[in-house]
């Protein structure tokens, strides 16, 4: 089976674009990714489109109506916050299997402001039987870590300090403002221990990638900026003891991380940088351990010692992460791949991780009573 390469990849600057449409926002990133490798929509043999809010409304086809209807197969993918990464992986599978040589993956989302989480149909149990908000769910996960290992409010807050600082170097980030520790800790409490500055930002955004087979990459002469996909893995949540009471994102992450490292034939110590799913500050802490960036129980020390900041041993979320760059659900997975690719190409400017050769992306999607989707990719400078 052929190795698969990213030859074109880009994202729009995340923001709020209520006057635009989902297909319109998607089209912007698609054209940017095509321009990044000098190809045309006429070269694309299949499209995979990740989106949550309009999952049932054929976002991919509507995007092609804006940039060129060539009759190619379109697969619309919805997998909560892992939708973009899932679309990318489906594109990868198709090239890997030899069905196509050039495919396009797009992730897009247009979001409102405010709390995410299911109220669902029927009588609301919110407040009466705990909370169904996303912050509450990820706060439970943080408190579980604190219970086991003594992780502190200060350590959770430092994740947010780091990612907001990183975002000051990223022109495509929604916010680009430093937030000192005292400001993060004194911000409005949303759900203990996550303050408002420790919650990801709801934004509109899109990102897209052109994936090609090795043969076509060489034919097209696109080696110089190509990025090799060393592993593309997915998982769902394996059974967890408390899963009906508190959704579990760690089990799925550990399953996908194990297979990703095996497939790539390397370990976490060989990574130069990581973009992981920091939907809340508490989530980043638990994923340090789930991804093997440190041993179990060491995540608090990792953030306190600055090992995951730009210039540290293993920089995490140098883009600013979901906390500051923003989290347009369907676009997030491909935006993470854009960030890693940009570093591997040596094109990340002020936030460049020097000499970056191998990077990992991680996203999880899910919610109360939903289950989990996890996707992990390992990328290497070609």
């Amino acid at each position: 089976m052929s190795d698969v390469y990213i030859v074109g990849i880009d994202m729009i600057k995340f923001g709020r674009f209520p006057e635009q449409t989902v297909p319109g926002i998607a089209a912007e990133a698609a054209l940017m990714a095509l321009d990044d490798c000098g190809l045309s929509i006429k070269d694309i043999q299949a499209l995979y489109c990740g989106n949550v809010g309009q999952a049932a409304a054929m976002s991919g086809q509507r995007m092609l109506a804006e940039i060129g209807q060539t009759g190619i197969p379109v697969t619309n993918v919805s997998n909560a916050c892992a939708s973009g990464a899932t679309a990318f992986r489906d594109a990868w599978v198709a090239v890997k299997a030899g069905l196509y040589d050039i495919v396009l993956a797009v992730g897009v989302e247009q979001m409102g402001k405010g709390l995410l989480g299911g109220q669902g149909d029927g009588p609301s149990a919110e407040g009466l039987i705990g909370s169904n908000t996303m912050p509450a769910m990820f706060s439970h996960i943080g408190i579980e870590h604190a219970r086991k290992y003594g992780t502190t409010f200060d350590q959770f807050a430092r994740v947010s300090v780091k990612n907001h600082w990183h975002s000051t170097f990223n022109p495509k980030s929604m916010y680009r403002r430093e937030t000192p520790l005292q400001e993060v800790m004194a911000a409005e409490m949303i759900a203990w221990p996550n303050t408002k500055l420790m919650c990801s930002v709801n934004v509109d955004g899109s990102a897209a990638a052109v994936l090609v087979s090795e043969r076509r990459m060489k034919q097209l002469g696109l080696q110089s900026r190509a990025v090799k996909v060393r592993a593309s893995e997915m998982s769902s949540n394996p059974f967890a003891e408390r899963q009906m009471a508190m959704p579990d994102f760690s089990g799925a992450t550990r399953v996908a991380a194990k297979t990703a490292y095996e497939t790539a034939g390397l370990g976490p110590n060989e990574l130069d940088l990581v973009e992981l799913h920091d939907c809340f500050a508490t989530a980043e802490i638990v994923h340090y351990e789930n991804l093997g960036l440190c041993g179990d129980g060491e995540a608090g020390r990792l953030i306190s010692d600055g090992e995951t900041q730009l210039g540290g041993r293993i920089p995490v979320n140098v883009s600013g992460g979901l906390l500051s760059k923003g989290h347009p659900l369907g676009a997030t997975g491909i935006a993470n791949l854009y960030e890693i690719s940009t570093h591997l190409r040596g094109e990340a400017g002020q936030r460049q991780v020097e000499g970056a050769r191998i990077g990992l992306t991680h996203v999880v999607g899910g919610g109360p009573s939903m289950g989990t989707a996890c996707s992990i990719h390992v990328l290497e400078k070609a």
């Binding site: 709390l115 009588p123 609301s124 149990a125 407040g127 706060s139 203990w192 221990p193 009906m244 508190m246």
Partner: protein
Amino acid sequence: MTPTLKSFLKRDEKGEPYLGGSKCTACGHLYVGERSVCANCTARGQIEPHRLAETGKIFVYTIVHRSFPGVATPFIDVIVDLDDGAHIKGTLLGVEPYPEQIPYDLPVRVVFNERAPVNMPDTPHLTYAFEPLVPA
């Protein structure tokens, strides 16, 4: 009769409310609510109804300060390990909403009450909450 907020809220033959669960006789896992196949061991047709315990201990908590529109805050959202081994989420009453007031493993009991959901303010529903086994 007052409607129930969740389908696993049941009433026995005397009309007493309880938390309905199910037990897999193959692996022993306890579930909140009814089901026919075990998600843990995949056994089929080996699930029997189980009346869940009404005491347990707090595993983790959060204090919710921002909720959906109209919901009174703050409130304490706890994950409780029931004494029979089941796990369930609920609101903790009778404790001040400060982290230092909520020790891990605090023994709690289930209390049943009737409350109106935020989106149906005129229709009380049977629901449940937790309170400390030993009042503060």
